[in-house]
């Protein structure tokens, strides 16, 4: 039994059309069909958060979402954070604060932090911890991740809002 569906969606600002099997998970669609390997596969049952992407601006687990359910949506993956070859201030802050060791959780951490800072531009450390509680880091580098997100908040605030650091995908 092969049940296939045509889907149309936007990923990182770019429109895609594809035919997918019903059981195709969104994370596999992004990685295997579109070649976007930024969303990682960890637990495959919605617990670890490394597959986190934004769907219509909201963080979701792409390992427990079907590709067919993403039909008509706008997806942002970690590949969509940098603009014109320049890292997003959040990514720079992660780099400068050594907020990654093995890097496996980093894509999910970045997207959760991106969502947090959009809703709460000046979070407290407690709010950052609460926000990233959905994502596991097995290097246990949480302290540096929290520091990086707080640092990114300062950097984003310092940047003139008109210049903007919003990736193209989120402006639509």
């Amino acid at each position: 039994m092969m049940d296939r569906h045509r889907i149309a969606l936007t990923v990182n600002g770019r429109p895609y059309e594809a035919e997918v099997e019903s059981r195709r998970l969104l994370v596999d669609f992004l990685r295997e069909d579109l070649g976007l390997k930024g969303a990682h596969i960890g637990c495959e049952h919605g617990v670890c958060g490394t597959c986190t992407v934004l769907m219509d601006g909201e963080s979701i687990r792409s390992c427990i979402t079907l590709a067919v359910q993403a039909n008509g949506s706008s997806i942002l993956t970690v590949e969509g954070l940098a603009t014109d070859g320049r890292l997003h201030p959040l990514q720079e802050a992660f780099w400068d604060n050594q907020a990654l060791q093995c890097g496996y959780c980093t894509p999910g951490m970045l997207l959760r932090a991106y969502e947090l800072l959009r809703e709460q531009p000046r979070p407290t450390a407690a709010q950052v911890r609460e926000a990233i509680a959905s994502n596991l880091c097995r290097c246990t580098g949480y302290q540096f991740i929290v520091e990086a997100v707080l640092d990114a908040a300062t950097r984003l605030e310092a940047a003139a809002p008109s210049q903007g650091h919003e990736p193209a995908a989120s402006r639509a």
């Binding site: 998970l25 979701i60 427990i64 959905s134």
Partner: protein, 291 residues
């Protein structure tokens, strides 16, 4: 881990959804947020042949207040209810409990009605439905019927829903102004399923309890309403001693399962502590008015 093959359906009306479910029979499952069902399918613990997606039915995506009720359609996401001003005003107990459901990315996809249909005994929303006296609406081949939450949960992951029936709505009755609420739970980590949790609603007439509801999760095969404890508090002043006695009454007959998170006795003790704390906070809020 990938789900086994299935046929995906995206109906646009309730009639279309119920017709598809009827046709699929035992092979059919409703897909709402999918935050419990897709993991089960990834593990191949569930192998439905047909998934009927209710979130594509636009008419089911609503949160509205009418006639002293807060009505939530089957397609409404948990995070939408969490942010909804009307829900905050009418059903603060539900909103407080929603903060404890998984994590934000889960709540962005998960639905309130889907959590009720899934009927996980340690889940928060079913306990809230039981405490508030919610009513569920099911539509099936024989038409529509309304099921009180007290009749809905029949066992672990089991409900009164019949094959081919679709849960379309849950309605939570609004409690009177001045009602104090509290939902508290103990989990190993924030966002994990609770070892035990307690929901409490308290309304005072002067210094005396004139309306109260207590429900627990994580302590039995279904959420549990603590009617004995409620009747002990009714007409009484909610003193610390009365609250302690109610917490004892709410939990003394429980025989929760033992697992790696704790023994049966430990869970009962946690439940008793959380009933006491939830009642204490609800009473405090009832006295304080708007908090």
């Amino acid at each position: 881990m990938k789900p086994p093959p299935f046929v995906y359906h995206a109906p646009s009306t309730i009639a279309e959804a119920t017709a598809l479910l009827h046709e699929a029979g035992e092979e059919g499952r409703v897909l709402a947020g999918g935050q419990s069902l897709i993991p089960l399918m990834n593990f191949r613990l569930a192998r439905p042949g047909h998934l009927v997606d209710v979130t594509t039915v636009r008419a089911l995506d609503y949160i509205r207040a009418d006639d002293g009720q807060l009505r939530i359609g089957a397609a409404a996401r948990q995070s939408a209810v969490e942010r909804d001003q009307t829900a905050a005003a009418r059903t603060p107990l539900l909103v407080e409990a929603l903060h404890l459901v998984g994590h934000e990315p889960i709540r962005h996809r998960g639905t309130v009605v889907g959590s009720l249909a899934h009927a996980d005994p340690s889940a928060e929303i079913p306990a809230v439905a039981l405490a508030m006296g919610a009513e569920l609406t099911a539509v099936g081949p024989r038409g529509e019927r309304r099921i009180p939450a007290s009749d809905f949960f029949t066992g672990p992951f089991s409900t009164a829903l019949e094959t081919g029936e679709l849960l379309t709505e849950v309605s939570f009755p609004t409690w009177p102004p001045g009602t104090g609420h509290a939902f508290l739970e103990f989990a190993r980590r924030h966002g994990d399923f609770a070892v035990a949790g307690a929901a409490a609603l308290v309304h005072l007439e002067g210094e005396v309890v004139d309306r109260v509801a207590i429900a627990l999760c994580g302590v039995a095969g279904t959420p549990v309403r603590a009617t004995e404890a409620e009747s002990r508090l009714l007409g009484e002043r909610p003193t610390p001693a009365a609250i302690e006695a109610a917490a004892e009454a709410a939990t003394s007959d429980l025989a929760p399962a033992s697992d790696i998170h704790g023994s049966s006795a430990y869970r009962r003790q946690v439940a008793r502590t959380y009933v006491r704390r939830a009642l204490t906070l609800a009473v405090e809020r009832a006295r304080g008015g708007s908090r």
